[in-house]
Structure formats: C-alpha cells, structure tokens
Amino acid sequence: MAYLDHAATTPMFPEAIAAMTELLAMPGNPSSLHASGRVARRHVEEAREVVARVLGCRPAEVVFTSGGTEANNIALKGIAWSEREQNPAKRRIVVSSVEHHAVLDPTHWLQDSNEFDVTWVPVDHFGRVTPQALREALGDDPSDVALVSVMMANNEVGTTNDIAALTAVTREFGIRFHTDAVQAPAWLDVNFAELGVCAMTVSAHKVGGPHGVGALIVSRDCKITPLVHGGGQERDIRSGTLDAPAIVAFAAALDVVSERRTTEVARIRALRDSLVEQVFAVAPDAIFNGDPEGRLANNAHFTFPGCLGDSLLMLLDAQGVECSVGSACSAGVPQPSHVLLAMGETADHARSTLRFSLGYSSGASDVDELITALPVALERGRRAGMPRGAA
C-alpha cells in the first residue's frame, strides 16, 4: 500500500503516541487546584512552551483549540467582531480566494449574515497572493478593513505565500492579519514573531500529532471576542477543559518536526521531484499545478486532462495507492476545485486533478507503487471520460 495523502492527515510519530498514552492513564484536570490537577497543568504548560519554541512565539500567545477549523473560526469571527466593537467603521474583511473551507466558510457566514463585506483577493496562476494584489484589494481607503486572512501554504496545490511581505502591506494601515498555517510547520521554518501577523492557525494531525487538537497563536495585543463561553480556560478566548494528553502529544510531534525538518525537507523534496519526473514519464500530457519552486516540499499536484479526478482516485485506491483529488467534498462528491478556478483553470481541469502528498514516513517504494498503478488508471480514466457531474 502507498499512502500519498499526508496533507489530509499524517500518521502520529511514536513519540507523540507515547506521550499521549502516558497521560491518558493519569487523572487530573489542568484547572483543578490539587496535586493531580497541578501535574496535568504542568504537562500542558510544558507543552505550550515547546509549541512556542518551535513556532517562534511566546508561550502566552498559544491558545489551544480542538483543531485548525476551530482556530480559524475563532480568528475570523473573533477578530472581526472585536475590531468592529472597537471601531464600528470596520465592516470589511479581506480574504484570499484560495483559502481552505475552514476559512472560506466562516467568511461566507460573516458575509451572508450581513455582518461584514468581503473582498476576495485574487491569486496568480500559481495560486499565490502577491503584495500588489493585496494592496489593490485593500483599495484606496482601507480604514474599513477589520481583518486580512491569507494562508501560509495552499493545501491543494502547495504554493507558499510570503506572509512577511504581505503583512508589510497591512502594517502601514494597522490592519489585523491572520494566516492559516495548517500545512506549514512540517515543511517550513515557521516563526510567528517574524511574520508580522496577529494570529496564526496550526493543527496537530498535520505534523504527526493526534486529531482533535490545534492552536491559534494570538499576539498579546490582539483582542478576540470569544465564540464559545464556559470557563475561559485559554486566555478567555477559548473555553473548555484542556485535553492534556492531546496537547502533550501535539507538542511531542512538533518537537520531532523541529529536530528532523531540515533533513526531511531535503529528502522528501528529492523524492517528490522524482515522483513528478516519473509521473510525466507515464503521463506526458499531465499538467503540474502550483509554483514549481515556491511550494511545500511534500506536495505534487497534477491535472490529468480528460480524466475525472474521482475516477482516478477510485482506480488507484483499488490498486492500493491512496491519494486525494485535492478539493473539498460535498456529501462525498468532490467539487470542482475553487483553488484551480481561482488560478484561472477551466472547470474541466478543476475536476481532473490529483494531489499526491508525502510525509516523514514516505519512501521510494510509495512512489514506485504509484508509478506502477498510474498507467492503467489513466487508461481507464480516459476511457470513462468526463461525466458531467453537478455542472
């Protein structure tokens, strides 16, 4: 079996499993005042320090959440609400058009409930937001902008954004900036302090930690109106009993990542480049999407013209090769990728994509299996053609 879907989720590191299982057997609510509570609290705070060290922020800036989606919701709604509370003129949010649904959907919600106007920032043909595009989206008078949100690395095509260059644009107007960095920490040296953002989303299960835990890194001067009330455990921004075992495992995973990243990025980039070369050898008409250079080291994203992405996924799955069409599903039906559409691709191309994403556990045999399975999948996928779907 070849697992080539590490961008969806990547297996937990043994170190993270060990840390988590050790704590699962222990009593203690980190909010309790007795000895067991203090032990649990100590584990959480040590984890917070590890997360802060790896992500280049202060421990007090780490707000643990149930994952990336919650962190993005807190950032989008909580910062926008808080900014408007301080200045009622701030009624606009500016968001890139290629964000993950965990950012897109709260943005649409804020728009549809008439809370905020939204300006969507276009991307170039690599899927990147340029400082110039952001500057144009802000417009002549950006005084009404409550928040800008641009992702650090695109989950579909893997293109990375220069967040520091983008915050240089917003800084002159004092506009709050959030970045969804869920895909980044395993592959990029993320340093919160140097980015110039006020909030950044990370998720544990994309870096070898468990599902159900993540964090919003929030600078100390950034005010956030909470979405959920009930205890205010995390800086009054996020309520709910802290999941100490998951948090400790998250930190253990980030610790592994920080130790191994330099080596793994070099190894996986070479493996990814080999994958790309071999895919072109069996599919000369394939189109490689995203920036060939400025992209995540583990991401290879293709359009296979004339083949429906979900046909290919099914055919590869039957041969034990697991990948993704890249785009989001609605009730199990892959939708044409909004990322490719925003990059200027046709709807047919946006439905003919596959994403292969590698992880720290990937090896040459995974690529070999893909290259063995791909020709027959492509032949049958072409034969089945392009059913119309929900055109």
Partner: protein, 362 residues
Amino acid sequence: MRVLAALSGGVDSAVAAARAAEAGHDVTAVHLALSRNPQSHRTGARGCCTIEDSNDAFRAADMIGAPFYVWDMSAEFQEKVIEDFISEYSVGRTPNPCLRCNESIKFEAVLNRAIALGFDAVVTGHYAQIVHGNHGAELHRAVDPTKDQSYVLGVMTAEQIARSMFPLGNSTKVEVRAEAERRGILVAQKPDSHDICFIPDGDTAGWLARQIETTPGDVIDAETGNKVGTHKGAQAFTVGQRRGLALGNPTGDGERRYVVDVDVKANTVMIGPPTLLDVNVIEAVNPRWGGPLPVNGQDIEVQVRAHGESLPAVVELTNDGVIITLRDQLRGVASGQAAVMYEGTRVIGSATISRSRRSVTA
C-alpha cells in the same frame, strides 16, 4: 467478476451487493448522488437522495467489505429524468421517471462508466431475473409478483442485460428483509420507497404546478360537449384519473366521472363515464428490445402500468414502434407510460405509449 454495486441506502441494494460478494465477485459500491441539493435527513417514504441515505449506503458497504464511493449523477439526472418528466407532463403525457432513470442513468451513464473503468457488470437491488436462455441473457419477471420490477427495467437492451446482475430476482421481499437482519445490515427495517424520489412530499400535482406554467381551463363532458367545470391547468391531469376533478355534483345519474382525454393545446380536460376509457388498441413508439424483435402477429402479453396486470395481446411492428391489439378491452391507458411486452415471464421489449383507441371491429 469485478462488479459495481449501486447502493441507494436501502435494504434491497444492500442485500443484492452482499449476495454478489458472497458469490465470489469483487464488489465495489457506489452511491449515486442524484440531487443537487440533498436534504440531510429522510422525509416520507423515500429510499435515496438524502445524506442520511448516503451514510446508510456507506455503512452497508462496510458490512459487505466493499470499498465505497459517491458518484455525482445529478446533472444527468436533472436533464434526463427531471426535465423529461416536466416536458412529458407539459404536453399532456404521463411519464414514468423510474423507468427513465433506469434507461438513462443506471444502465446507461453508470453502466458505461463502470465498464470503462474496468468493471464487468453492474449489480442493483431490482426485483427481476436475468436468465441465460435461448436468447442469451434474458430479462424475466421476479418470482415475487408483488415486488416484480421488470416493467421499469423493460427499457434495457440485450447488451445492458448482459452486463447487469439482479441477485434478488429469485427472492421475496420478506426473505430479503430477513436476510438483511441476519447479515446485520442496519437498514433492514427501513421502509420501502414508493414516491417519486425528487418529489419527497408525494404531491406530484403541486410540484408540477411550480415547474409548469398553467392556466385555468374548461372541464368538458365528453358525451355532451358541455362545460361542466374548470381546472387549474390541463397538464396535471392523467387519463383514467377520478380524484381531484372538483366537479361538485356533476351528474344526475350519480355515475362516477373519469378523465377520458387531456388536450394540453386546447387546455381542456374531457370527462366521461368509465366506459369511454375502454380501449383495445395501443400504439407505442421508441421501442427498446431486450433480445430478438417479435414477429408480426406474434401472441404476447403486455403490461401498461407499473403495477398493472399482464394482458394477452397481438403485436405488429411499425416503422417507429408497435401496434398492440389487446384480446380484451382495457380501461384507462395513459400516453407516456410504457407498454412492456412479455413472452411468458421474459421481457421482449418496451415502447412508449403514444395513443390508445378502440378498434372498429372490437
């Protein structure tokens, strides 16, 4: 064989797929997404099309051990089934959307895609039998007459029949439900679906009224030519219909009145006593044959509605279809429905009824 099982989320398709797997076939399961905006939960007696149904199908595939995918057929379904349904009604005919779905979606779009992707056949939970007889793969009635669905499968061509599997054709519904329980399929007691899947509340007339622009018109007594009432739009009426005429107290003789003709162009609905509905000649077009064509004058049996009887008749081939002469009079034949022709239990073919009349000699 590598087979593709279409799982609706109901009992029948789940048991059919389980039987195919048990028979040694390599089963892959798909749920067909037919609605563009699926509701999240079932309402009424429906067996497909909600997210809950899709989840039921996923769980059934788990129990069978089959990989599961959702195929988006909503654009094809909209065009070939829903729009056909509306356009047929708008010209005064009474279509059968289940038959059209089998003809254009399940055994056309899905089957073709499955074959292209390397599958050998499609498995469904329809109650009908495929018998390998004198004419190759033949489509026959199911053994359970109360569940027999050969009528809505009559549109299948010989090639389509040869690429299909109906593992339930030799069982009764009671047996299938018991087997689902035994296999631990969670939907074993899920109610049968009866309504048209894209009209969840079952109010076809109300649904059509929202799709077709209608204007009020006259209800006319076919015997006297007199206007006896008004209707909201001729398209919503079907020959043979009695309910919904709202004539108050139309007749002195107390005899029931039926719709005997619908003229959409003139926007009139003709009513009359049931004897005016008696016909013995049925003309049908666009035939589809499940094997060799019948010969002129061949004795056959014909069924003209989904749960109708099988009636002895004689068939003649025409340029664009068939003329079927019934041995006995039949009451109320609606244009747009299928005339499915049988030889014993074997389906010969199906054609769309364009006209029915009483022969002069009858």
